[in-house]
C-alpha cells in the first residue's frame, strides 16, 4: 500500500474509521504469535545454541532500532553504533564502579543515556541527502570511538573495558557460562522492546511518520510537525539501539572500542536489507539469517568466509530482493496451506512477512 493512498484514505475517512482501521492493523496476526511462540520455544529446543542465539537477539534488537528510522521514517543511518557503543560503555562503567547494580535498572538507564544522545544529534541528521546523513551519522559514531580511545584511563582504550562485574539478574539469575540466562534475558528484552515499537508504529503517531516518509512536504501541508516527529522517532530509535548495546556489555561483561566501529553499523544495514524494512520483522529475520549464515560459512572456512558472504550479497542483489520476496510469498502460501504443523521450521519463511511492504 502506498503512503499516498493511505493519506487520502485517512483524510477522507472520519476519525472513528481511522481508529477502527488502526485497531485492525494493530491486531496480532497468527503468524506473529507463531513467530514469538517459536522464538521463546528456542529456549528449550536449542539449549546448546544459546550463545549464538543470544548474539542474534541482540543484533535483532539493534536492527529493530534501525528499522524504526529507516523503514518508518526514511532516515538512512550508518551511525547506530554510536548509541550502541555509548550505552554499552555506560552499562559497563556503572557496573564496574558499582553505581547501579541491578542489570535491569542499568539497562533502562543506558537506554535513556543513548536516547539523550539521539535527541542531541537528531538535529544533525534532519538535513541533507541520504549520503550526507550516512556520513554525518557515521562521523558521530567514529568521533565517539576516538573519544573513548582518548580517555583510555576511563574506558580502557583499545584494550577494552576490563573488570566489569555484572550482578545477578533480580539478585538471583547469574549470567552463566552457557549463556542460558543471558539468552532468556536478551530475548525477553527484545520482546518487550518489540511490543513497545509495535505500539508506536501502529499508533496515529506511527502513521504520521509513514506520511512523512512518503512525502515530507505534503505531510507538513496537512499539519504534521515533520521536524519534531523525526526528532522523536530518532530519539526512540537511539534508545533502543542503546538497550541493545547495554545488553551486549551486560551479557559479556566486557566492552571494547569495536562497539563504535563502522563494521557494526554496516552489518546492521546488511541485516536489514536482507530481512526487509518497514514491517518490523525484517531486522529480526535478517539477524537470524545473517548470523547463522555467517557462523556456518565461517566454520567451513575460517579464513575466507568473507568471500562467500560477499557472493551471497551480490547474488541476492542481482536476483533482486523483490523477486525473492515473491518466491517467499509463494512458499508462505503453500506453508500456510499445509497448516500450523510446519510453522516452527518456517521461521525464515512463514514468519517472514505477516504485514509485508
Amino acid at each position: 500500500m502506498t503512503v499516498n493512498t493511505l493519506n487520502a484514505k485517512n483524510l477522507a475517512a472520519p476519525a472513528a474509521n481511522v481508529s477502527a482501521y488502526l485497531k485492525s492493523r494493530a491486531r496480532w496476526s497468527p503468524f506473529e504469535i507463531a513467530f514469538w511462540v517459536f522464538a521463546f520455544a528456542t529456549i528449550w529446543l536449542f539449549p546448546g545454541k544459546h550463545l549464538i542465539l543470544k548474539d542474534t537477539a541482540i543484533l535483532a534488537l539493534f536492527a529493530l532500532s534501525l528499522d524504526l528510522i529507516l523503514g518508518y521514517a526514511g532516515i538512512i543511518s550508518l551511525g547506530q553504533a554510536a548509541f550502541f557503543g555509548l550505552a554499552g560503555y555506560f552499562a559497563g562503567l556503572v557496573a564496574k564502579y558499582g553505581i547501579v547494580n541491578e542489570p535491569v535498572v542499568a539497562l533502562v538507564l543506558s537506554g535513556v543515556v543513548a536516547a539523550a544522545l539521539g535527541f542531541a544529534t537528531s538535529f544533525l541528521v534532519l538535513r541533507g541527502s541520504d549520503l550526507t546523513r550516512l556520513m554525518v551519522t557515521l562521523g558521530v559514531s567514529l568521533m565517539l570511538g576516538e573519544v573513548a580511545n582518548r580517555y583510555s584511563n576511563i574506558t580502557g582504550g583499545a584494550d577494552g573495558l576490563q573488570g566489569v562485574d555484572i550482578e545477578p539478574l533480580f539478585g538471583r539469575f547469574r549470567f552463566d557460562l552457557y549463556g542460558h540466562n543471558g539468552y532468556v534475558y536478551c530475548l525477553s528484552v527484545l520482546f518487550v522492546c518489540f511490543v513497545i515499537v509495535r505500539r508506536i508504529v501502529y499508533s496515529p503517531f506511527g502513521l504520521s511518520l509513514r506520511a512523512v516518509k512518503g512525502n515530507p512536504l505534503r505531510a507538513a501541508a496537512i499539519g504534521i510537525p515533520v521536524k519534531w516527529r523525526l526528532v522523536a522517532i530518532y530519539t526512540v530509535s537511539a534508545g533502543i539501539a542503546g538497550i541493545a548495546g547495554a545488553l551486549l556489555t551486560q551479557t559479556t561483561a566486557f566492552c571494547s572500542l569495536d562497539v563504535f566501529s563502522l563494521e557494526r553499523s554496516a552489518d546492521l544495514l546488511l541485516v536489514l536489507i536482507i530481512g526487509g524494512t518497514g514491517y518490523l520483522y525484517g531486522g529480526l529475520i535478517g539477524a537470524v539469517i545473517y548470523k547463522f549464515l555467517q557462523d556456518w560459512i565461517a566454520n567451513l572456512t575460517p579464513q575466507y568466509w568473507q568471500f562467500w558472504i560477499g557472493l551471497v550479497l551480490v547474488v541476492l542483489v542481482l536476483i533482486g530482493r523483490d523477486r525473492m520476496r515473491n518466491w517467499i510469498g509463494t512458499v508462505r502460501g503453500a506453508v500456510a496451506g499445509v497448516g500450523v504443523r510446519l510453522l516452527p521450521r518456517s521461521i525464515t519463511l512463514g514468519g517472514a512477512a505477516p504485514d509485508g511492504p
Partner: protein, 396 residues
Amino acid sequence: MKIAVKRRYFVAAACAAMAFAAAGGARAQDSVKIGFILPMTGQQQSTGKQIAAAAKLFMAQHGDTVAGKKVELIIKDDGAVPDNTKRIAQDLIVNEKVTFLAGFGVTPAALAVAPLATESKTPEIVTAAGTSIITEKSPYIARTSFTLAQSVVPMADWAAQNGVKKVVSMVSDYGPGIDSENSFKAEFAKQGGQVLDAIRFPLTAPDFAPFLQRAADQKPDAIFVFVPSGQGGVFIKQFVERGLDKAGIKIIGPGDVTDDDLLNGMGDAVLGTITAHIYSADHDSPTNKAFVAAFKKANDGLRPNFMAVSGYDGMHLMYESLQKAGGKTDGDSLIAAAKGMAWESPRGPISIDPDTRDIVQNVYIRKVEKKNGELYNVEFATFPAVKDPIKAAEAK
C-alpha cells in the same frame, strides 16, 4: 497484559536454564580438542595465518595422538573483535568441550576470555597477545609468545650501553604499545638515557608522516618504535623517505617492526635497523633450521615469524602437558603440568615460569642484514633467560 505473560515465560525459562547449566560440564574422555581462536580476517589476519600454519605443522610432525588420546584441532576466526572471541570461546567450551583454548591475536581478545577460563577451568594458552597483565587475569592462562617488556628492557639496556643518549618513543596507542613505552622509559632512564618525547598514535594510523616529523624535529639519537606486526614496514619506509636515516637517527625497538614475514618486502630501507626480539628465522640452531625448512615447505615458501614459533611452542606445551598429566584432561592437572615445563624451541631454550605461567626465554639483539639476497634479522647479542620484567619488578 503481554508483559505478565512474558514474565511467566521468563521465570519458567530461567528455571529450565538453571537445570541445563547443572547438567552441563562433562568432558569427552577419549579425544582431546584444542580450540584455536585467531584473527583469520581483518587487519591482524597475518598473525592468525602464521599461528594456524604452525599449529597444523606441529600436528603433521608429531602425530595426532597424545597419551592415548586423539587430538583434534579446531580453528575459529574472531577477526580480532573481543566480543566475538568471547562468544566463540564460550561456544568452544560449552558445545565442543575443548580441553585447551589457544591463540588470541590481540590483548583484548585474550583478556575477554580470561574469566571464562577461570570459570570453566579450561587452560588458555596465549600464543600471540603480548601485554604483561594477561597471565595475571586467570590462574589457567599460560603464555608461549612473549611480553613486550621482555624485548623492550634488553633493548633499552643495549641502547644505553651503545651510545644512544636521547630517544623519542613512538608507539601505537593500545596495551602492548603503552607497555612498551612505559618499560622503555623506566629502563632507559635508569641507565642514564633521556626520553625526549613519548608519542602515541592511534592503532589504525594510515600515515605515519606527521608523527615521524614531530619526532624528527626533536633531533633524537634514536627513535624507539613499537607498532603491531604488519605496520612496521610502512613505518620504516616512511622513516627512510623522510631522510631520517641520513640524519643519523637510528630505529630501535622490539622486533615486531622488522617482522620476518614482511622483512623481504620492506626493501633495503630497513638494512641496519636494530631490534630486540625473541625469535629470528635466522636463529642459528639445528632445531630452527629444521623448523624453518618444514614451515616453508608446508606453506608455499612463507617464512615463519615470531607468531608462528609461538603457535608451534603453544602446541608443544599443550602436547607435553597432556603427556605429563598422564591422560588427565582437567584444567587443574594440565596447568600444573605446564608450570615449569622447559624445552628447546626453534627460538632457543625456553620455559614456563612456575610462578607466573609466563614464558622465560632468551632475548636477542639483532640487526637487519642481507644474506644470500634475502633480508634477515641477524642476531649478534643475547640476553639469556629473560623473565617478564614487569612481573619480576612487582615480585621484588
